[in-house]
Subunit: 584 residues, 2 copies
Amino acid sequence: MRASHYFISTLKEAPSDAEVTSQKLMLRAGLIKKTAAGIYSWMPMGLKALRKVENIVREEMNRAGAIEVLMPAVQPAELWEESGRATHYGPELLRFKDRHDRDFVIGPTHEEVITDIARRDIRSYKQLPKHFYQVQTKFRDEIRPRFGVMRGREFLMKDGYSFHSSFDDLVREYHNMYATYTRIFTRIGLEFRAVAADTGSIGGTGSHEFHVIADTGEDDIAYCPDSDYAANVELAEALPISTVHGVASEALPISTVHGVASEALTKIHTPGVKTIAELAAFLNIPETQTVKAIVVESDGEVAQAVLMLLRGDHELNEIKAQNLEGIKSPLTFATPEAIAAAFGANPGSLGPVGFTGRVIMDRSVAAMSDFVIGANEDDYHYTGANTGRDFPGPEIADLRNVVAGDPSPDGKGTLALCRGIEVGHIFQLRTKYAEAMGARFLDENGREQAMEMGCYGIGVSRILGAAIEQNNDERGIIWPTAIAPFQLVICPVGWSKSDAVREAAQALYTELSEAGVDVILDDRNERPGVMFADWELIGVPHRVVIGDRGLKEGSAEYQGRRDASATAVPIAELAAFVHEKLSA
Amino acid sequence: MRASHYFISTLKEAPSDAEVTSQKLMLRAGLIKKTAAGIYSWMPMGLKALRKVENIVREEMNRAGAIEVLMPAVQPAELWEESGRATHYGPELLRFKDRHDRDFVIGPTHEEVITDIARRDIRSYKQLPKHFYQVQTKFRDEIRPRFGVMRGREFLMKDGYSFHSSFDDLVREYHNMYATYTRIFTRIGLEFRAVAADTGSIGGTGSHEFHVIADTGEDDIAYCPDSDYAANVELAEALPISTVHGVASEALPISTVHGVASEALTKIHTPGVKTIAELAAFLNIPETQTVKAIVVESDGEVAQAVLMLLRGDHELNEIKAQNLEGIKSPLTFATPEAIAAAFGANPGSLGPVGFTGRVIMDRSVAAMSDFVIGANEDDYHYTGANTGRDFPGPEIADLRNVVAGDPSPDGKGTLALCRGIEVGHIFQLRTKYAEAMGARFLDENGREQAMEMGCYGIGVSRILGAAIEQNNDERGIIWPTAIAPFQLVICPVGWSKSDAVREAAQALYTELSEAGVDVILDDRNERPGVMFADWELIGVPHRVVIGDRGLKEGSAEYQGRRDASATAVPIAELAAFVHEKLSA
């Protein structure tokens, strides 16, 4: 491609409403144009990168045996009534009436449409398994679309749906997709992790998210650098500290878990001390020697106060807490009035000593001895508190978020934390949709059964944003070569003035084009500074500069987008040199 | 591809609501599934054909210098307010409010979105011309979606928009697109015609439609088999019969046009004769000797009756009639009361003799002599009527639809009629959108000017329906090879029983696959009758049958989809034979 025949439209400044790096850079590089909030037009260079992602996804899905289809964006609402999602899906689901006053939705996903097809067309176990996928434009009416293509309202998604005659076969395909997604993100050239995930609103059991690792990610991920273990922080198990490398269990007798008491329980005056930070500072002790008290409501008709104890430096994990038997879900904190009534004190001075209600202790607290805890009297705390001795040994549970350095739940090392951007998600839907919509088949014994289903999504357009969040510098985007709009740019210095430059640039361009390299020749006749700034902003990973000065010495300059400086390469070796860099 | 890994789902009968051949065959062949009225899911085999069309369109658009973009389906309504189309576009435009109560439309076309991009990004003549196109899913809320993918509500379209610094440059690109569309439909393998067209509601001047020729088409086309001339019947000019091969002109003196009188004007009693057919039968004369009288309303505050005269066998062309000066548009027929008041007689006996109002005569009538016409007295007609002698020479105009055998307006032969399915349309929009939306540039003299625009559409999904309407027989679809879901099917007879058959089929499959042939191996282990019926219905253009009987003689059978019988081909020559057939 020649730049003069293409459309290059870069901006010095990003629009003021752009929030994150990838959004700013995509707008500045002219890859996308905002048409409305969360709705973008893909300009030529952005679409080129998008299509490269799409093609990698398609090739790997085909290789994995999935079959491509294309379902409509507009779906009859009655299918959503059948599945039950019409009522459960919130205002993100765009609903409208057609001119005949019939209800439709613009589908954010296609479980209903594909299940409708499967129930009409699949009758026998002999037709199973089948995995249909599509690459299709979706619309979700996000309340606050943001972050450019990472949380847009209209976006491109690959969504696949598999149908099986048994759960075992669903699990087989789930592993197949796990491997396929791993290949896809590896080929694209991203640092990523597969993360055990909550299933969220889409329903079903068993799911993994695929996250691109980036500091700007919205999700907190705990992973083990020494193994494959990775989970959303919300789901990662915090093992008992005393059982590192062992098996976590709430069934262990309390005496085998907690530490050994050496101090006496002592009530001290702590005037004005409300927070753990203030308490540690006041006593000049580490936060790890303090215990945090949190009061939540129990389940049931009359809510009771339930005391949860965590080590001072730890954070309550609300998901873990609300999933405990007898605890109100979603987790509900006790009111100040209920706390005062139950403890005789206000938050900031609460503790288990003398409290007669239910107490649940995080595993880490169970390993502590001689700790500091509220005395259930305003402005007073106990030092030297010990479980069992000073108050009855309570229930022990995993109540907290993991932190860096915690033992990995798989017993293979310690956890690290990072942030991720979710770009893929695989689910075992099981028979949720098949049961609701009557997608049944006859098994080998002639018995009718509901089909087992899996579903598998990739945010095709979001990948571009995530790739940029992971790969950029102060000058602009740094594309992985596999999805760069162009692999290489040739920048001739003095295009209109020097026959030698023009001829050398054209010769290299022709040779590389004919060899299948996706190369752009910048024949816009711009100054070097303008050219370089444009291509560094756009993020083309390889650049060759051809100018009269170098040509006199028989050389041109090569510079990779991440390289600190350019390398002089003899003209005769230039094409071979470029091929080597591209295949590196 | 192996059939067992694919999805083949054929039906014996088409659903009862399928109306036209292509719709029935696509549903029976399992290429599409109906999801709602006018909304279809593309199943694997249908999508494969769709993508082949899409790829040909994309390759040729790129070759022509257009640049691909991707604009959103959902567009802010305010852009449509700016262009003025919000009020002009009817209920086909799907409008909705998002969760913040802002107005949006699901764009049936993208003039507004691309003009919005152009006005923000293009400032100088140096950036022009630019031609952006996309292949994108569109939605039009048709009041009566029908004919499957030919008039669906959701459909795939290629739409391109070009911007120019001068009208001359727009005309250059218009010709470029005319040639590009011609290449596209030629490569797809369709019989088609470019037809001069009315511009319709999209606005602007200068346009051609590209029609696939098919008896089931909705449009009537007049064309000259001896030249490039083609036009919608509504627009094709009917030349004066006496000036065949000459220049049509209403300015010719009446005496040089009409025939020579030889009979006397005679009033005859024609009891109960109301229609031209009855009149011709009653008098035992050809309809070509009769003249039809039609009364329409004039323009202006008080409508006057205007008499239009056509040869008895001709049809009034309402577009031509309403475009005449002083005629009410849209064309409005006079009420029975107005007719009785103006003529003193009822329809069926009307004529120009004695009528003092405005009379307009079709060119063909002007060439007639001694004709039969109503006498303005119920149940009476005149025979031997002659223009000028029996009533004043009236205005002469082109009032009728052309018929087969009429002279071609380009003077290069005679017209034939056919029916067509519109699959492409190119327009010169001129400055309509640029003026309305302020898309201006600075010309070479530093003056601000509105951009000239062209727009160019291809109904990508509709092409499949049109291709099938043109190419089918009682057994099913006959795909042109370039867009067939598979080019060739290998049908092994006795797949599970005969090692020899399986080995020969697999060997051929492997050899052809590796040579890049898009081949499917039917390993479903079905009976020959089932296999053949499926593949003839699906319309794969080439078939090889391998069975034990043939193998004993060292041969297999080849049959093209249009061939009446099979050809035995020695196994050793099979691959070469197939290659030859595919490249034919």
